[in-house]
């Protein structure tokens, strides 16, 4: 549902309108978060007053107060250490690095696979089922093997987190491949006919017609891939024993959960923010590159 007006440069009134939409958007985020926090505290209050134990027991350990969680970010996790928030921030940077590299790698591979498959229905029928099936393999189970196999092959500076990036790439390539394929196949048949009248070669047709037609699909996949890369990075860190990332923090704080539950909750909040930041980064990049409102996004 795009109108011609949005394709042209926005005028002053449009900027004003965009600012108003931005303000409304920010307000609705605040409203939703406030509602969720409200529900959380309400649930906690009801369950702890009545003492119900279904579905699970509610107390300070299982459901710390929201302000306790937020407060924990300002406190050091251990004596003589910087605040938890700072630590988690650096860990999220580490995980972000893995996710970003995984994202780039997976997107490139996925895009390439999509291009190759788009040229042959035989290849699609031969390989597509396995590409789909590849996502049913639990990467958490494979991660240790990947780490052991990939690490020695990497230069020392890349070791450790490099294999996690590979795992992130594994989750990322799939949506990009599938959507690239669909996008390339969605090119206007009339445009293809036109290219044929120019006796254009395969590569020209690819880059001048099919790839531009695939862009909306590819960007839609990149939004999913952004999330997938963060998820992959966190999951990949779990069995790899890396302490420097959010996955390590999760494992760590999980062990202390009964004593300091709010630290694991705080880690979850930071991980959530990381996922959202990645997502918004891709959306922003899409807006900047395409310069018209992408369909159906935040």
């Amino acid at each position: 549902m795009s109108h011609a007006a949005t394709a042209t440069l926005p005028g002053k009134r449009a900027y004003g309108r965009q600012a108003a939409t931005g303000a409304t958007r920010a307000l609705s985020v605040v409203a939703v978060v406030a509602t969720l926090v409200g529900f959380y505290e309400l649930y906690r209050w009801i369950w702890s007053s009545t003492g119900w134990t279904y579905p699970f027991v509610v107390d300070d350990t299982s459901m710390p107060h929201v302000w306790v969680i937020l407060h924990a970010l300002w406190q050091p996790a251990q004596v003589n250490q910087p605040a938890l928030g700072t630590i988690l921030f650096h860990k999220s940077l580490f995980t972000a690095k893995e996710a970003a590299v995984g994202f780039a790698l997976g997107a490139a591979v996925g895009f390439a696979i999509g291009i190759v498959l788009a040229h042959s229905r035989l290849l699609v029928r031969g390989f597509l089922p396995y590409i789909v099936a590849s996502q049913t393999i639990p990467i958490l189970a494979i991660a240790p093997m990947v780490v052991v196999w990939v690490n020695p092959k990497l230069p020392p500076s890349l070791q450790g987190w490099g294999s996690v990036a590979v795992i992130a790439a594994y989750l990322t390539f799939f949506p990009v491949a599938i959507n690239t394929l669909r996008g390339l196949q969605s090119a206007d048949p009339h445009a293809l006919d036109l290219m044929r009248t120019y006796a254009a070669g395969r590569w020209t047709v690819l880059w001048k017609v099919r790839v531009p037609a695939s862009m909306p699909f590819v960007f839609s996949a990149l939004r999913i891939a952004a999330t997938a890369s963060v998820v992959g990075a966190i999951i990949g860190e779990l069995p790899s024993g890396l302490q420097s990332g959010l996955g390590g923090a999760i494992l760590n704080f999980n062990q202390y959960y009964s004593i300091e539950p709010q630290e694991l909750w705080a880690t979850n909040i930071v991980a959530a923010l990381l996922g959202i930041v990645f997502f918004l980064a891709v959306v922003g990049a899409e807006k900047a590159i395409v310069r018209r409102a992408p369909e159906n996004t935040a």
Binding site: V29, F56, V57, P138, L140
Partner: protein, 272 residues
């Protein structure tokens, strides 16, 4: 009995089945070639067996350990299935409610899409603390949480995608809101719903296994794989991975078959 059934097939139908069978030949060829290459490469390049055992070794392990592997797989599968069911139904219900309030729906949609970006998998250890780590409840909860958002977002999108003309037509029949919902919005939404159910089916199994990583009963497949890997029995670990994958595919295929039966009109599932 199958002989009789075959003669009852309409001529068009058997041609269609034949075509569908032929469609799968390339995939079969790739499968056979891949296994052959795999088996040969390991022997030829002396790839460390512990990383990637020969397919023959994995299959043998599958068979030898079938009394532990398949029950474990079934145990984890039930967790995934339960979470898939709960999460999907909750997602569809939430979308139905939200779709009644148009402003709410359009306001929530971008937020829901952004919320989908949260790596909710990080919540698994907390779920394990809520529920007894050895019980399946935490894994079912994890799978349900993971399935909820994609199903909700896509169902909502589907419910909102009826064309204005169709709505005008129903209004010309003085149809009530519920009638419009039942006759137009729901059928329009079904293709969207099934697409998201396919995605959710894959996520459910993965969620169950990640949940088990943080603690689970020894009857569970994820725990089994991990413990076998720890004692360096990689053939069984890979066999377990194979079982997990097969079960995930099975769930996906079940949803795909249901889609084919229910949504016969969408372009992807049309006969002609």
């Amino acid at each position: 009995m199958s002989g009789m059934a075959l003669t009852e097939l309409k001529p068009g139908m058997s041609a269609r089945l034949g075509r569908q069978a032929r469609d799968w030949v390339p995939a079969l060829v790739v499968f056979v070639l891949a296994i052959a290459v795999w088996q040969g490469a390991i022997a030829a390049f002396h790839i460390q067996q512990f990383l990637l055992p020969k397919p023959s070794a994995i299959v043998r392990s599958c068979w030898d350990q079938r009394h532990t592997l398949w029950p474990a797989g079934w145990y984890t599968f039930k967790e995934a299935l339960g979470g898939f069911a709960i999460g999907s139904i909750a997602g569809m219900a939430a979308a139905t409610v939200i779709s009644r309030f148009r402003t709410l729906g359009s306001a929530l949609m971008p937020l829901a899409v952004a919320a989908n970006a949260i790596p909710i998998i990080a919540f698994a250890p907390i779920l394990n603390n809520w529920f007894n780590p050895l019980s399946p409840s935490s894994k079912i909860a994890m799978a349900a949480v993971l399935c909820f958002l994609p199903v909700m977002v896509n169902t909502l999108r589907g419910l909102q995608s009826a064309s204005p003309r169709q709505i005008e037509l129903m209004r010309s029949y003085a149809a009530s809101g519920f009638t419009i919902w039942r006759h137009v919005r729901v059928p329009t939404a079904l293709p969207f719903v099934f697409t998201s159910l396919k995605v959710a089916s894959v996520l459910a199994m993965i969620a169950a296994i990640v949940g088990e990583y943080f603690g689970g009963s020894y009857d569970a497949l994820g725990v089994l794989i991990r413990s076998k890997a720890q004692i360096l029995d990689f053939e069984t670990a890979w066999a377990g991975i194979l079982v997990a994958s097969v079960l995930g595919i099975a769930l996906y295929l079940a949803v795909a078959v249901a889609e084919r039966l229910v949504v016969r009109w969408a372009p992807e599932t049309r006969d002609s």
